[in-house]
């Protein structure tokens, strides 16, 4: 009796699709399995803890510190209704938006120069932009503390007073301005790198064409370069916003008591007040904020409105 497989062999025809799929499956399966340890690790130590924290945020903590029923949304209500906490939420939003906006404005020129200069200049700028990224945030915050030091001994005040720009020392340290400056310094590379990569992908002929048709440099930038670099801008803005919103070290070092952010409030609730459910609720709001911004940015990047950077 002749099976269909034999017929295939005898006639010398290619194996039917079913067999090819089967062999591909046998090959593909072990490769996919290589991801299992990582998946298991992250599920257990990242995904599951995150869900657990979210779950604590809707529970109640009794006087012995044990978290359980009844379920409640009171912790979220407290964050919004108590003025002290609501202010921290607004401060966080304000600092994150201002930092991302300033980073955008300053990153465009730097990214343009980075992309269009001679290789040596590009290399030096890249090195200067990236190097601080690898220096501890604590060190960079400390550096700014020294620069912004209130009183005549701070570097900024010393320069301003030596140049007679101001007569009396100005107070920048321990204000929101100081936190914005510090955050800008820490997260600036996150804006420049995606922007530079988007700008590098723009066909230079497009800009040349605009220029040859008589457009001045600023018009070329506004009508050609800027729209084509939108994917880089969106990616950078999202990164800077998310990282600033979730920061702890910079507001702790530079903001003092007048610029407390969500991260500092969480730390205080957990380590000082021991209020886990409330701390968890603040953390959930922070995560919600960051995920929302990332969601919008992914929607923008994947929709037809923007070309994907790669």
């Amino acid at each position: 009796m002749t099976t269909s497989d034999d017929a295939v062999a005898v006639l010398g025809v290619q194996a039917p699709p079913a067999t090819r799929w089967a062999s591909r499956w046998r090959l593909a399966l072990p490769v996919g399995l290589l991801a299992v340890p990582m998946l298991a690790f992250l599920t257990y130590f990242f995904f599951y803890p995150a869900l657990g924290l979210l779950f604590s945020s809707i529970q109640t903590q009794d006087s012995r510190g044990i978290i359980g029923r009844p379920f409640t949304l009171a912790h979220y209500a407290r964050l919004i209704n108590v003025e002290l906490y609501a202010r921290v939420l607004w401060t966080t939003l304000r600092i994150s938006i201002i930092t991302s906006a300033l980073a955008t404005v300053l990153a465009y020129p730097v990214a343009l120069v980075m992309v269009k200069s001679r290789p040596t200049v590009t290399r030096i700028i890249t090195l200067i932009v990236i190097a601080p990224l690898i220096v501890s945030v604590v060190v960079r915050g400390y550096g700014w503390q020294l620069v912004l030091q209130n009183g005549p001994k701070g570097m900024l005040n010393w320069i301003l007073m030596t140049l007679h720009i101001v007569d009396a020392p100005i107070s920048v340290l321990y204000t929101e301005v100081a936190v914005v400056i510090g955050s800008l310094h820490v997260f600036f590379p996150m804006m420049v790198l995606p922007l530079a990569s988007a700008l590098g992908k723009i066909d230079p002929n497009l800009e040349d064409a605009a220029r040859m048709l008589g457009a001045p440099w600023w018009k070329v930038f506004l009508r050609v370069t800027l729209p084509l670099s939108m994917p880089g801008f969106v990616a950078g803005f999202t990164l800077v916003f998310s990282l600033t919103a979730g920061s702890f070290v910079i507001p702790a070092i530079l903001g003092g008591a007048s610029a407390i952010m969500l991260g500092n409030l969480i730390e205080q609730q957990i380590f000082v007040v021991y209020d886990w459910p409330f701390g968890a609720a603040i953390a959930a709001v922070l995560v919600g904020l960051v995920l929302a911004v990332n969601g919008v940015s992914m929607w923008l990047l994947e929709g037809r409105r923007l070309r994907r950077p790669d």
């Binding site: 591909r24 399966l29 996919g32 399995l33 290589l34 991801a35 340890p37 990582m38 998946l39 690790f41 130590f45 990242f46 803890p49 995150a50 657990g52 300053l106 730097v110 343009l112 120069v113 269009k116 200069s117 890249t126 090195l127 990236i130 190097a131 990224l133 690898i134 220096v135 501890s136 945030v137 604590v138 060190v139 960079r140 400390y142 550096g143 700014w144 020294l146 030091q149 001994k153 701070g154 310094h185 600036f188 530079a196 990569s197 440099w217 600023w218 930038f221 990616a235 998310s242 979730g246 702890f248 070290v249 991260g263 969480i266 730390e267 957990i270 953390a283 922070l286 995560v287 995920l291």
Partner: protein, 267 residues
């Protein structure tokens, strides 16, 4: 510079870029300058020149203990994230299975998740488990936050591997393992090394996860430095900071040599 931007536009661009470079370097240079200041308080402008603050730091037992812990932790983290991350990257690039995109998103998600919350969530779970060894807890936390960096760099370098070379090796009779060791690995070696270096540096500098999982007995360098900022006012703090800056510079130069900075950091 070509004539692509010239005149007033170029002037503005270069002025702003110069200003930004100054902005980036100023606080770091100031820290380094103050660290050799011969005064008992940190002041500007720095006075004289001395290396005595470095001598003080290098005899500071807290700092040396923290250094030792941070380096061991970073080495362990590097090993751990490579061990988990490299095979995962392989699966992501070479695997053809349902939900590949979603799995990739999941594996990279610690990158967009606020690290502060990652650490807090982990603290809650580890407390429930009764895991009280701060060193082990820190290692777990650091592997969670560093492995996406390893996956990302290794995925990028795997995508550049010429699969024809592997096919050729297989055709010539090499088995899968030999093909991997002799053909694939040499091609992705710089990517793996860059990923490992990344993991090391991210672990060494990490604050937002570390702050939850460390304790008074085991405090890595960033936490010790943060404590010193509040309590110590002599130039030994800038001296410690300068040591950290110099270590980072070595890391950056290594990274630049291995893969090129832009490629290492590009998403």
């Amino acid at each position: 510079m070509d004539e692509r931007f010239s005149g007033f536009g170029a002037f503005i661009l270069y002025t702003i870029t110069g200003g930004v470079m100054l902005f980036i370097l100023a606080p770091l240079l100031l820290v380094m300058a103050v660290s050799v200041s011969d005064s008992y308080f940190v002041t500007f402008p720095p006075q004289g020149f001395t290396l005595k603050w470095y001598a003080k730091v290098l005899q500071d037992r807290d700092f040396l203990e923290a250094m030792r812990l941070s380096i061991l932790l970073a080495l362990g983290t590097t090993a751990g994230s490579l061990l988990f991350g490299v095979p995962a990257a392989f699966a992501l690039v070479r695997g053809k299975f349902f939900g590949l995109g979603a799995i990739k998103g999941f594996l990279l998600s610690p990158l967009i998740f606020p690290a502060l919350v990652t650490g807090l969530a982990l603290l809650q779970v580890l407390t429930k488990l009764g895991s009280q060894d701060a060193r082990l807890n820190l290692l777990i936390g650091h592997v969670v936050v560093t492995s996406p960096y390893v996956i990302r760099t290794v995925v990028t370098s795997l995508q550049l591997v010429d699969e024809n070379l592997e096919d050729a090796a297989r055709t010539l009779g090499a088995n899968r393992l030999t093909t991997f060791w002799r053909v694939t690995l040499p091609q992705i070696a710089s990517g793996v090394a860059a990923g490992g270096l990344f993991a090391f540096m991210v672990s060494f500098d990490n604050y937002p996860v570390t702050m939850w999982l460390a304790n008074s007995e085991y405090s890595p360098v960033p936490l010790v430095l943060m404590r010193q900022l509040v309590n110590v006012f002599d130039p030994s703090v800038p001296a410690m900071s300068t040591i950290i800056i110099l270590m980072a510079m070595v890391g950056v130069l290594l990274l630049e040599k291995l893969v090129g900075l832009r490629r290492a950091l590009a998403a």
